[in-house]
């Protein structure tokens, strides 16, 4: 059978690649580094021929990767200072070579290299502190940042808010997928529930109409910047964020309870089904099950939605620090950005503390071996349900905040694709590792918002092709999922424990994989 031959040949190629890699790893370090350098040199030359500024960026990145390997500390420090000075001078004088004139690459290099000098014991605090500080200050210096080669300029503040919302969702999904090892393919459903909770209780949706044209229901509680006579529910967004989280967490429990006792892949398919049902309910909810009730306004979505705000009272009391209404401030985007940052911070903190808690350790135990965990007295159902509910909570809050930020919610925002998109973030970054997930989420969200379009136009300009790259976004994500799972299942920044699981496998070496 010709097919069997092809299959066996493929297996043989796979084995030989593995052998080659092992042989390469067994070489002396000097030889290995020499080979790496040669390969990188060729790559840099090829890249530079295509695009000069890309070549410069490649050199900078490679140097930053190589320099910390220098054993002699004085030499290392000298090289690093030289690198930063070089980048500074390059930015000032070679404006014709490097396309973008406003350069801050030297600052980025200085901060990055500086961090490698922090003793390992302090790194756990120093890195988050620096990253956090940079994130808080982001709106102030974003306009001065350099253009990332291939991807385009750094995201503006508005895009930043969207990215933060995605980061929050990715961290929430990471609790389910990364910690507890349950595959949730319907995460977008929780996102949608959060968004619609806010849309219902902070808009005109349920105003109704009496015969005289006046609103039937007018319920106000802590809403800011709304005419008190306006119909419909208008609850404070802060309360609604919590409410949305609780509602979605409850929904997570309701979905989870009957299905979590099934094996993992059944959970995947049930969550997928759930994630398909909810957007359809949202899309057809203007005539709910043919009863004529308008729940969701159908494909037109619910808009406008109230903006968050602290009210004039708190505004005056804090001396104008807290904005009364997010929409009336001069830099509304910045306020939204910082609030999102705060929410992400809370999410990170909760996720991090949960991981080290009794519950978190139970999640990891279940992920590694369900039977063994049950034998050790971990209550499977309760632990899994908690993972599910916690993940759902953050998804709900993220959806709620996003709805308030966009002041609208449409059923089209909640396709199955989004679930896979967020899953892709978690897997690319590294399942189970918060930093990895944040990196994966920022990168993919940026790619989705702006990067892919820029890369597409770069490709079309430089390689003389005509491909609509953003059209193939999800194919690209599919390739990312496939490649990461096949070659680096632990993701870009792996958690050591997860990496070990993937490389050792969960069972013994299978008999049938032996090559003859």
């Amino acid at each position: 059978m010709a097919w069997a031959k092809t299959a066996e040949r493929t297996d043989a190629v796979r084995t030989s690649i593995r052998d080659q890699r092992n042989r390469f790893r067994a070489l002396p370090q000097r030889t290995r580094w020499a080979i790496w350098l040669a390969v990188e040199l060729v790559a840099v030359i090829v890249i530079s021929v295509i695009d000069t500024s890309l070549g410069v960026a490649a050199v900078a990145i490679l140097t930053v990767l190589w320099v910390p390997k220098i054993a002699d500390l004085r030499l290392r420090a000298a090289v690093e200072v030289a690198l930063v000075v070089f980048l500074y001078i390059a930015a000032q004088s070679w404006t014709d070579l490097i396309v973008d004139p406003q350069h801050t690459a030297w600052m980025v290099a200085a901060i990055g290299l500086g961090l490698t000098w922090v003793p390992p014991a302090w790194r756990r605090i120093a890195v988050p502190a620096v990253v956090g500080a940079l994130a808080i200050g982001y709106p102030y210096y974003v306009d001065d940042l350099f253009t990332i080669p291939l991807l385009g300029p750094f995201p503006d503040v508005r895009t930043g808010v969207v990215m933060l919302v995605y980061i929050m969702m990715a961290i929430g999904l990471n609790i389910v997928v990364g910690y507890a090892g349950l595959l949730d393919l319907g995460y977008v459903a929780f996102y949608a529930m959060g968004a619609y909770t806010v849309a219902w209780f902070a808009s005109l949706q349920f105003a109704g109409e009496t015969a005289s044209g006046a609103a039937k229901r007018t319920v106000h509680f802590g809403a800011v910047g709304i005419d008190p006579k306006l119909g419909g529910f208008h609850i404070s967004i802060w309360l609604l964020l919590v409410l949305a989280g609780i509602v979605t967490a409850l929904a997570g429990v309701i979905i989870g309870l009957p299905t979590l006792r099934l094996r993992g892949d059944y959970l995947a398919i049930v969550t997928l089904g759930f994630g398909e049902i909810l957007p359809q309910v949202a899309r057809n909810g203007d005539n709910f099950l043919g009863t004529g009730r308008n729940l969701t306004n159908g494909p037109n979505g619910i808009t406008p939605i109230d903006a968050p705000g602290f009210g004039t009272h708190l505004h005056d009391w804090t001396g104008g620090v807290l904005p009364a209404n997010y929409l009336t401030v001069t830099h509304a985007d910045r306020i939204f950005f910082w609030t999102a940052l705060l929410l992400v911070g809370i999410t990170i903190f909760c996720s991090w503390r949960l991981r080290d808690s009794r519950l978190g350790r139970a999640w990891i135990a279940i992920r590694e071996d369900e039977t063994a965990a049950a034998a050790m007295g971990v209550p499977l159902m309760r632990t899994k349900t908690w993972a599910y509910a916690t993940g759902a909570f953050f998804g709900g809050v993220a959806g709620a905040y996003y709805a308030s930020f966009k002041s609208a919610t449409f059923p089209g925002d909640f396709f199955f694709n989004i679930s896979v998109f967020i899953l892709c973030m978690v897997i690319l970054g590294g399942m189970g590792n918060i930093w990895g997930v944040i990196l994966g989420a920022s990168f993919l969200a940026y790619l989705d918002q702006a990067g892919l379009a820029n890369t597409g136009s770069w490709l079309n300009n430089n390689l003389n092709v005509n491909i609509d790259v953003p059209l193939y976004e999800f194919g690209i994500f599919g390739v990312i999922l496939l490649v990461v799972m096949l070659f680096r299942p632990e993701g870009l920044i792996p958690s050591a424990r997860r990496a070990a699981e993937f490389h050792e496998g969960v069972s013994d070496e299978p008999l049938y994989d032996q090559t003859h």
Binding site: T259, R263, G475
Partner: protein
């Protein structure tokens, strides 16, 4: 419940032993049955036509569901890419039928040979595609955590969709209306047309052949052994890798056949059709009891009927906007009430 002993127990006693959950499930089934019966009583002719549509749809779902069930039976993997192989089957057959063989609407006698030829080519190509997917995306991950092949399956599904998107573009491609529309019988308002019957006529021999293959041949024996215990099968001298490749080949060719039938019956295909239909077919496989071949067909027929009833009935039918929600609700309800499916056997793992 259906054992002989319980048949002698008076009706009330029979229900007393049940939990609340199965009782609720039975009530639900009874309500649905009542709804169907009332619809039939109110408008017999229209409802019978709807029934015929449902059977045809069910037959197409059955072919796809069989592929899910075969693969799940052997690898315990939900092959998310299967629906997209089905979609590619539609695209391939559309291309061959129009561009290569130049078929047009209303085919005559000699053209039927070409249709059969298209069917064979599509089945072969789709089988090869499916087996290649296994080789690329699933084989290296055997022995990895169960999550890993599921994730690559989703990745593969998106990749196949975008391959079709790059190949045929984002719009519906129309397929020539080859299937004859002549009436087989015509009683009152009830019409049964050839195009509906042909779809069923192709599905039935395929199912019989498949059951024969799995139950009576050496290859089928190897498949069953591999499904039970891979290591033991390998020790008995079965080439496990080849058996799994063969299973994917069969599953893919079934999807290809379904793709052709769907394309000819609905007369248009689009790159994103496969995923939705694949999920519905998977629901059918779960409904019938996953890993069980006749179960997949039964489940597919039921799902096809439910979909047709929902879209075609006049009295209190939610309508086509809600089809998906209803099908996935069924999926969730089955997993809650009877995870082993209608014809499946209860296993210690619960599903």
């Amino acid at each position: 419940m259906t054992t002989e002993a319980s048949a002698q127990v008076p009706l009330v006693g029979k229900f007393r032993g049940m939990g609340v959950v199965p009782m609720f499930g039975l009530l639900l089934v009874a309500l649905v049955l009542a709804w169907i019966v009332i619809n039939f009583v109110k408008e017999l002719e229209a409802s019978t036509n709807v029934l015929f549509i449902g059977i045809t749809q069910g037959a197409i779902y059955a072919l796809v569901a069989l592929g899910y069930t075969l693969v799940y039976g052997i690898l315990e993997l939900i092959n998310f890419a299967h629906g997209d192989v089905f979609m590619l089957g539609g695209m391939i057959s559309a291309t061959f039928a129009t561009s290569v063989f130049g078929l047009e609407s209303g085919a005559s006698g000699a053209d039927w040979l070409l249709v059969v030829l298209t069917l064979l080519i599509t089945m072969l190509l789709c089988g090869t595609i499916n087996a290649s997917i296994e080789l690329i995306a699933y084989r290296p991950l055997r022995g990895a955590p169960r999550l890993a092949p599921l994730i690559t399956a989703i990745g593969m599904s998106f990749i196949l969709q975008d391959i079709a998107l790059a190949w045929k573009g984002p719009n519906f491609i129309s397929v020539p209306d080859i299937l004859p529309k002549g009436r087989i019988f015509h009683i009152g308002g009830v019409v049964y047309q050839w195009n509906k019957l042909i779809v069923v006529l192709i599905t039935v021999p395929v199912l019989i052949g498949l059951v024969y293959l799995v139950q009576n041949t050496r290859q089928g024996k190897a498949m069953r052994a591999t499904a039970q215990d891979m290591d033991a099968a390998a020790m008995m001298g079965i080439n496990v890798n080849r058996t799994i490749s063969f299973t994917f080949l069969i599953a893919g060719s079934l999807a290809g056949a379904a793709g052709l039938l769907y394309a000819l019956y609905v007369t248009n295909v689009r790159y994103d059709q496969g995923f939705q239909l694949g999920l519905i077919a998977f629901t059918a496989a779960v409904l019938g009891g996953i890993g069980n071949l006749p179960g997949a067909v039964l489940g597919a027929l039921l799902i096809g009927l439910i979909q047709a009833f929902n879209e075609g009935f006049k009295w209190h039918a939610p309508g086509s906007d809600w089809t998906q929600s209803i099908v996935f609700s069924i999926l969730i309800l089955i997993l809650v009430f009877r995870p082993e499916g209608l014809l499946g056997e209860r296993t210690p793992e619960g599903a």
